[in-house]
Structures are given as structure tokens and as C-alpha cells.
């Protein structure tokens, strides 16, 4: 039994907070404010191939996102439970209730159907996300217009919004979720809990209903045990609330429709209240750009000419090139390791390029085993060249003073000492 309760914000037990619906300039865009909870909804459409087992039906896709600005606790990866719960409830409410006629979304059976995508973003979390989200979803779907399509035999023509007016979706009914919060094992119930009330509630009962008093979805969570007559009473309350909310939605849609038809101004700019002290508007402001050309010329005249860029790329092997010289190698000396392998035939070093490079540490890829790269000896250190067979991939080089390329040879190479390339 409900005694006379005082809620934090002064509402009565069955009172909803103020609902405010505003539309954007694109069709299918709306922002719903339930008290301070704010949800942005946008509907978009795309022509896709239908699902294999439902070749004549369009596809509906719902996505509710809890934006990180909605609450400090909403970080990516930390909201998954709540997110899954809300998304699933929304899907059951809108998809399973068949409020949208998916057969009408079919263009060419088995080949092309409309995919309607509803994206909802929670902008501010002050409790009762599911109600606000379900209102935003259904309002956005009712507001949305899809491009007109005509099928003549095999030919399908998709008209742009300029050619033919876009067409609204076929919506049978508008299911709206109503949430009930229970306290003290079902003793007290509150409709439309705000964030503080949600934190301390025992359980939540969500009933999705349309104005014809048909229950589309019902979900009880939190482990509360409700009596049959409590649930029945809640459904009656939900019926009343849904009727009020549906009327509000229809009025808002009608107003927007009227403004658009009369050519007045619509969009979010109009919904910013003029009289609020935190809101400010400025009209179209012409900017005097007559002197930009002179200013630009002055700046260019005074600027120094761009520095000469000398770019001399060095081709090590096919697939490996180098521009620039890199920085000094800060590694210590590589240990010498004696190699007592057989000497192959005369290994010739080909100097690809006679640029003197002071420093360089490169790890070069030997793309092909046929052309092992030798990066040449430094002036001070000895160069150890690993056998290409054993270490096919990389050779770490030390400071180089010139570059030499080895002739293709798979034979192990002897250590070379202090060889300097001619300049």
C-alpha cells in the first residue's frame, strides 16, 4: 500500500517528470528530455540485402549508447551490464512488438530491403534511461522519412529527397516503456525513478505498452517478489501514463510537421530557450574580408623563402630505400666474433652510392635472399656480417661511412676490417 510519499523533487508517487521533445533539421533526429535525463535519437536507412531466412522483410537495428558525458561512471568497457540490459529491453519493446511494418520495407524480395538503423545516445543520466530511450526511439521512427522508391518490373528507381518527397515509415502502434521502482520488498512503489531513487531501489518493473492498452513487454528485475494485484495495478497506471505520453508525442510531431510545411524555422536552434540566461544567440554576421589578399601578400613577402630540400634517396635493395641519415648509434660496440668459415669466392662489394654518411643505424630488411645487404664498415668498428642463410631477415648495422652492396652470393662472408669506400 502506498502512503503519502514525499519524493526528493516534490513529485507524487505516480508523477512523471516533464517530458520535452525537440526535433532537429534532418528527419528522424530528436532529443527527448525526461526531467534532466536527455537522450538523442537518430534514425537512418540504407538499402541492403535481406536476411536469408526473411527475404521479404526489412531489417531493424537498434543501438543505445551510454555516452561518457552522461555520467562519470560511464567509461568504455565498464558499462556493459547496464548497456546490454537496456539494449535488450529496447529491442524486445520495439522489435518483438512489431510496431514497425517490416514487410513495407521490402523493395525487391530477396535482393534489396531497407535497413532502418536507430541510434540512441544517452547524453545525461538522471534516472529512468529506458523510458526516455523508448520515447526517443519511437519519436525518431515516427519523425523519420525514407527516400521514395519505385519498382517497375525489373527496374528500381531510388528518388533523392529533391526529386520526390521522402516517405514516412509504416508504424502500427507506439510502444512506450513505463518504469516502476520498488522499495522495501514491494511496499512502496514510485513511477519514473530519478537517479537517486534508482540507487536505493530494491527492484524495477518495466512495462511497455501502447495506447490501445496492449502490453508489448514486461520485465521485472532486482529480485523483488510482487503480488499479482500489484502487477495488475502497475499495468493500469502504465496504461494511463502511456496515453498521456502518446498524446504529447503526437502533438510534438504535429507541431513540427506544421512548422515545416509553413516554411517556418525548425531545428534545434529554435528549441534553445531565448529567455534562459545561459543561452545566447547571434545572428548571421558578415565578415569583412576585403583586406585578406593584401595581408596575405605582406606575409608571404616578409617570409623567408622555404629552405631548399635536398632529398637524395638511397636505394639499398629493391624494396628498401633510405632518406636522411638518422641519428648517432647509441648502442655499445658489437662484440667481435670470429668466423672461421670457408671463404667463398671473391666477394665483391659494389658501392651503390658514394655519399658519405656520418652516422646511421638501420635495421634493413633483406627482402630476398639473393641480395644480402651489406652495410659497410665504419671507420672505427669492425663489421660482422652474419650469414645470410642463418639470419635471413635482419642485419643490424653500425655506424657507416659509406655503403656497399654485396654481389648476390649465399656464401658466408668473411669479416672485413676497416674498409673505406672511395668517396
Amino acid at each position: 500500500m502506498n502512503l503519502c510519499l514525499q519524493r526528493l523533487d516534490g513529485r507524487q508517487t505516480y508523477d512523471y517528470r516533464n517530458i520535452r521533445i525537440s526535433f532537429g533539421t534532418d528527419y528522424g533526429c530528436c532529443i527527448v528530455e525526461l526531467g534532466k535525463t536527455r537522450v538523442l535519437g537518430q534514425v537512418s536507412c540504407e538499402l541492403v540485402s535481406p536476411k536469408l531466412n526473411r527475404a521479404t522483410e526489412g531489417i531493424l537495428f537498434f543501438n543505445l549508447e551510454l555516452s561518457q558525458m552522461a555520467a562519470p561512471a560511464f567509461e568504455p568497457g565498464r558499462q556493459s551490464d547496464l548497456l546490454v540490459k537496456l539494449n535488450r529491453l529496447l529491442e524486445r519493446c520495439l522489435r518483438n512488438s512489431k510496431c514497425i511494418d517490416t514487410e513495407s520495407l521490402c523493395v525487391v524480395a530477396g535482393e534489396k530491403v531497407w535497413q532502418i538503423r536507430v541510434d540512441l545516445h544517452l547524453l545525461n543520466h538522471d534516472g529512468n534511461i529506458i523510458d526516455a530511450a523508448s520515447i526517443a526511439a519511437i519519436v525518431a521512427l515516427c519523425h523519420f522519412r525514407r527516400p521514395d522508391v519505385s519498382v517497375q518490373g525489373d527496374e528500381v528507381t531510388l528518388y533523392t529527397p529533391e526529386e520526390r518527397d521522402p516517405v514516412p515509415l509504416s508504424i502500427h502502434h507506439m510502444p512506450i516503456c513505463v518504469s516502476f521502482a520498488f522499495f522495501q520488498q514491494g511496499t512502496y512503489l514510485l513511477v519514473d525513478p530519478n537517479e537517486r531513487e534508482e540507487c536505493v531501489m530494491d527492484g524495477l518493473l518495466v512495462i511497455a505498452m501502447n495506447k490501445h492498452r496492449e502490453i508489448c513487454t514486461i520485465q521485472s528485475s532486482g529480485g523483488i517478489m510482487l503480488l499479482k494485484d500489484q502487477v495488475l495495478r502497475c499495468s493500469k497506471i502504465a496504461g494511463v501514463k502511456v496515453a498521456e505520453i502518446t498524446e504529447l508525442i503526437l502533438k510534438a510531431l504535429e507541431n513540427d510537421q506544421k512548422v515545416r510545411k509553413e516554411g517556418g524555422k525548425f531545428g534545434f536552434a529554435e528549441s534553445i530557450a531565448n529567455q534562459r540566461i545561459t543561452a545566447f544567440k547571434m545572428e548571421k554576421a558578415p565578415i569583412d574580408t576585403s583586406d585578406v589578399e593584401e595581408k596575405a601578400e605582406e606575409i608571404i613577402a616578409e617570409a623567408e623563402p622555404p629552405s631548399e630540400v635536398v632529398s637524395t634517396p638511397v636505394l639499398w635493395t629493391p624494396g628498401t630505400a633510405q632518406i636522411g641519415e638518422g641519428v648517432e648509434n647509441s648502442w655499445g660496440d658489437l662484440e667481435d666474433s670470429e668466423k672461421e668459415d670457408d671463404e667463398g669466392g671473391g666477394d665483391e662489394a659494389i658501392i651503390l652510392d658514394s655519399i658519405k654518411m656520418d652516422t646511421g643505424v638501420e635495421v634493413s630488411d633483406i627482402g630476398s635472399q639473393d641480395a644480402p645487404i651489406i652495410l659497410s664498415d665504419s671507420e672505427e668498428e669492425e663489421m660482422i656480417i652474419l650469414e645470410p642463410d642463418k639470419n635471413p631477415k635482419k642485419i643490424r648495422t653500425q655506424t657507416t661511412s659509406a655503403k656497399q652492396e654485396k654481389a648476390p652470393s649465399k656464401k658466408p662472408v668473411k669479416r672485413r676490417k676497416k674498409k673505406r669506400a672511395a668517396n
Partner: protein, 235 residues
Amino acid sequence: MEEEMHTDAKIRAETGTGSSPRGPGCSLRHFACEQNLLSRPDGSASFLQGDTSVLAGVYGPAEVKVSKEIFNKATLEVILRPKIGLPGVAEKSRERLIRNTCEAVVLGTLHPRTSITVVLQVVSDAGSLLACCLNAACMALVDAGVPMRALFCGVTCALDSDGTLMLDPTSKQEKEARAVLTFALDSVERKLLMSSTKGLYSDAELQQCLAAAQAASQHVFRFYRESLQRRYSKS
């Protein structure tokens, strides 16, 4: 064209039904800004430029994860969410541009080992989106009381095929333009904080666009100043 300022009557503004032609004297679209509209974030602002609208929320200075903390200054994070679909590479790149701009002005050294998070939500996109994001971020940072050394604003320029300069282009103008340049300018000396460009242009055109953006930024900063004056007029 006479500039009329009506604050309560119906005013001519750019609406979604096609853009009214803006002549060679370029102009900025109708601006609107509302601050402190969200109750949870520390600071929030909704910025509208014509039909482009971006909502920004700022949390900070707040606790930072140990993995992300910087010992001597605040960790600034920017998150941009598109309206439709999942965020992709374009959003990541814009996030980085906005973050670099904010880091240049926010006095992070006053709040070491904290995090300042700027969350941006695209509410509608009708051209000049990056500039609108920058403006919304700045107003939200001001609303949150984050210390900054200067305010910043974003201005977009578009160059069309005959070299005509357009400020604050609509999406149709951006699509048909040869080059689109966005600049972030600071309020103290109108210096350049960030520039992001797309398309072909000569260096003379770049300097012209920059000069035009600097001229436009004066209006934007005047708008900021007037809106803040209005907000604090009764305290």
C-alpha cells in the same frame, strides 16, 4: 546587407532547406550557445552554427587512472562520438586535433595527476563540424571552470574552384569546394593553434584563408564574451 540584432523576435537564419547564397563578402552563419545544460558533467555546452550542432561535456579535474597519469600536469582526453554508427578513424583524428588544441591552452600544470575529459557528441552535421566541435569544447571548458591561458575558437574556410573564399561553409559548399581549411585560433593574439586542411590550395590562398579566419574569429570571440556577460549579468 544590414545586420539586425533581434533577440526575441523571429530572426532570419540559415535553416536546413538549402543555404541562402552568401556573397563574396563572406559571413558566418547564425550562432547559438547554451551552457550548463546537462546536470551530470562538470561543464557542458551546446554550440550551434547554422544547422551544425555539437554538444560538449567536460569532466575535470578528476581522478586519473594510474596508467594514464602524468606527474606534472593534467591528462587531457577528448572523445568525439558521431551520431550514426560507431566511431572510426575520422573521429580519432579529429579527437587528436581537438586534444592538441586544448592542451595548448589549458593550464594543466595547475592540476597535476588529474584527468580532464572532454566528451563531444555530434547532434547534427551541416558543414564546419570541426570548427563547431572546437567552439563547443571551449565553451564547455569555460563552463567547467578549467583554468585556461586563452580561449580558442574554430573557423572553417572553403575555397571553391574559382578561388572564392567562403567562411563557415555548409555541407553542400564543402562538398563542392576545392579545398576546406579549418583553423583554431587563440583569443589573446589570434595566433594559430591548429590547422587541418583538405584539398589543393596555393600558399597565397593559405595565408588569405588564415587572415580571413582571424577576422572571423573576432566575431566568435565577441560572441563568447557577450554570452558570458549575459550569463553572469545577474550575479
